[in-house]
């Protein structure tokens, strides 16, 4: 039995539905949050097979077959998935010594990686080799915004960023690489110009946020999580000294973070940093839930609630 109040509300809603037509679907959008699942690895280091059963600490862990099974399962359950890697795909097992990265890149294509960035060890068999492996076997882009490869075999083989449309979401992803000097032999780094990652990250994130109107900006970083040396750029420094970055997927320091870490950007925005060790021992999963706002209502100080995934 309807009372007067609910009757009037229903009538108004029906009238609204007739007047607004498809707008009701949009009203549903407003009420239904949009979900994006990010799966990520870093420093997989040619670990295509699990660690051998030799009594070692990591025996039996990792391997592309089990990782692939898990990724397929998540893809079957979730509509919008991005699979990302933060570099150092190469070096670490005899696969790399023999094949120079071919099975590693092919495997990433098979597993459906959406993008990766470049690690220092990805130079290990030379830039010409990396360019060849990517050209012949990669169906995903290698993203790096702070290496200038002009005049090297890697020229034109990377992109600074890529925008992914996932349902109604627009996700901007870019990459930053670590300083080569002292880490990558000159003979391998060649004429590559290393540009300030903070400056390039700021420029690129601003482009993605303001010009390209991305709802989320993700940085794939091979800078390393954090260092004792205060002057060494890291993901922590990057998070604190930039703006417009929502998430940094890190690598290089092989840091096993138990949970994503939150930092405040230069403008007080929340920046999430995550890294999942090395060798594909862990597959990281980040489920973001988005709500819709008008341009005016976008709060600069909105708070993202971070918690362990329940269920699944």
């Amino acid at each position: 039995m309807l009372n007067r109040k609910s009757f009037i509300r229903q009538a108004a809603l029906s009238a609204g539905a007739i007047m607004a037509g498809p707008a009701l679907a949009e009203a549903a959008d407003y009420l239904n949050p949009v979900k994006l699942t990010i799966l990520h690895t870093n420093d997989t280091h040619s670990r295509l097979d699990p660690f051998p059963m030799d009594g070692g600490r990591n025996q039996g862990l990792g391997g592309i077959a089990a990782r692939s099974g898990l990724i397929k399962q998540v893809r079957a359950e979730e509509e919008h998935v991005l699979l990302l890697d933060a570099g150092d795909i190469f070096q670490g097992t005899p696969y790399f010594n023999i094949y120079k990265g071919e099975p590693e890149i092919k495997a990433m294509t098979n597993l459906g990686y959406d993008a990766c960035t470049i690690g220092n060890h990805d130079f290990d068999a030379g830039m010409e080799n990396l360019a060849t492996q990517l050209t012949q076997h990669a169906s995903f882009p290698m993203l790096v915004a702070n290496y200038d490869f002009t005049g090297t075999p890697m020229e034109g083989k990377t992109e600074p960023y890529k925008i992914f449309k996932k349902g109604r979401l627009k996700i901007g992803v870019f990459g930053v690489g670590i300083e080569g000097r002292g880490l990558i032999p000159d003979s391998l780094f060649g004429a590559t110009k290393y540009l300030d990652p903070v400056q390039k990250a700021n420029e690129t994130a601003a482009t993605l946020r303001r010009d390209k109107k991305c709802d989320m900006v993700i940085c794939l970083s091979h800078l390393g999580y954090q260092y004792k040396e205060s002057n060494k750029v890291s993901d922590e420094v990057l998070a604190k000294e930039t703006e417009n970055i929502d998430l940094i997927i890190g690598g290089h320091t092989h840091t096993f973070l138990d949970n994503p870490v939150e930092f405040k950007s230069k403008k007080g925005e929340q920046v999430i940093v995550n890294q999942v060790g090395f060798a594909g021992i862990i597959l990281g999963r980040l489920d973001f839930e988005f709500s819709k706002f008008s341009g005016k209502k976008l709060s600069k100080n909105h708070n993202l609630t971070v918690s362990p995934k329940t269920g699944g």
Binding site: A65, G92, S187, N274, L286, F288, F293, H302
Partner: protein, 250 residues
């Protein structure tokens, strides 16, 4: 009051449809999970199949016999036959690869990953077990005084394999250091074959930080394999002796 109630749903619809600027999405919630890729997880058989030919070939390559060990070589401190063999390989191959005189080659004790290289056939895979890390064999020129600091660290850590140098360990310091038959001269400059790991300050070798490195990216493991092949081409087997290169003074 009632008018407000009636208007709310209408207002909501109009507010939504009334947007002319593109609405934006903002993340409100983040849930995280770390999946441990363990043996119990179901494997994607297509990836097992994909990898099989690579795996077979890798195993074939790893099973290649590169040389023959005459005797079992042992990892020991302050000096062991396995370490002596390795640094002999590094000294010889560094001189050859960098085409330059090299005074001393060494390796950190912890960088040797087999306790024993058994007598008999030595496969590529066995050398990978011996040196699984992709450490690079590089060249550095260091002052005798800095070298002494490094050797004191070596002494403190119980002695590392040395080629081209003899020393004694006394009160955790390196004494009676002889290089090329002459006492270490703190003012002289020595050329050493080093690993990138130690050259970059690994094992607390902080005195080496900042010293220029000449590197072609030549892996120490490849140096060992090349040296074994070189011996074989000369009709020689893998061997090493204890030669009192590094000894305890008392």
């Amino acid at each position: 009051m009632k008018r407000f109630t009636i208007c709310t749903p209408l207002f909501l619809i109009l507010a939504i449809t009334g947007f002319h600027c593109k609405p934006s999405y903002q993340a409100q919630q983040l849930q995280y999970k770390n999946y441990r890729i363990a043996t119990a997880l179901p494997k994607d058989s297509s990836q097992v199949v994909f990898l099989q030919p690579y795996r077979d070939n890798v195993n074939k390559t790893m099973n290649e016999v590169v040389g023959m060990a005459e005797v079992s070589l042992e990892k020991k401190q302050p000096e062991g036959t396995l370490g002596n063999f390795m640094v002999d390989a590094f000294l010889t191959m560094a001189r050859e690869k960098y085409n330059t005189p090299v005074d001393v080659a060494f390796v950190n004790f912890g960088g040797i990953r087999l306790t024993q290289l058994p007598a008999g056939e030595v496969t590529v895979g066995k050398v990978f077990e011996l040196m699984p890390f992709d450490n690079v064999l590089l060249i550095q020129k260091i002052k005798g005084s800095v070298f002494q600091q490094l050797l004191d660290l070596v002494a403190e850590r119980g002695g590392w394999p040395m080629a081209g140098l003899t020393m004694q360990i006394k009160n955790k310091k390196a004494v009676n250091v002889m290089i090329g038959g002459k006492p270490l001269d703190p003012a002289a400059t020595y050329t050493i074959a080093n690993s990138d790991f130690i050259a970059n300050g690994g094992d607390n070798a902080d005195m080496l930080r900042g010293i220029p490195q000449i590197s072609s990216g030549y892996l120490m493991r490849d140096a060992i394999i090349d040296y074994i092949r070189k011996l074989k081409s000369q009709g020689k087997n893998i061997s090493a002796k204890l030669e009192n290169r590094v000894t305890n003074a008392e």
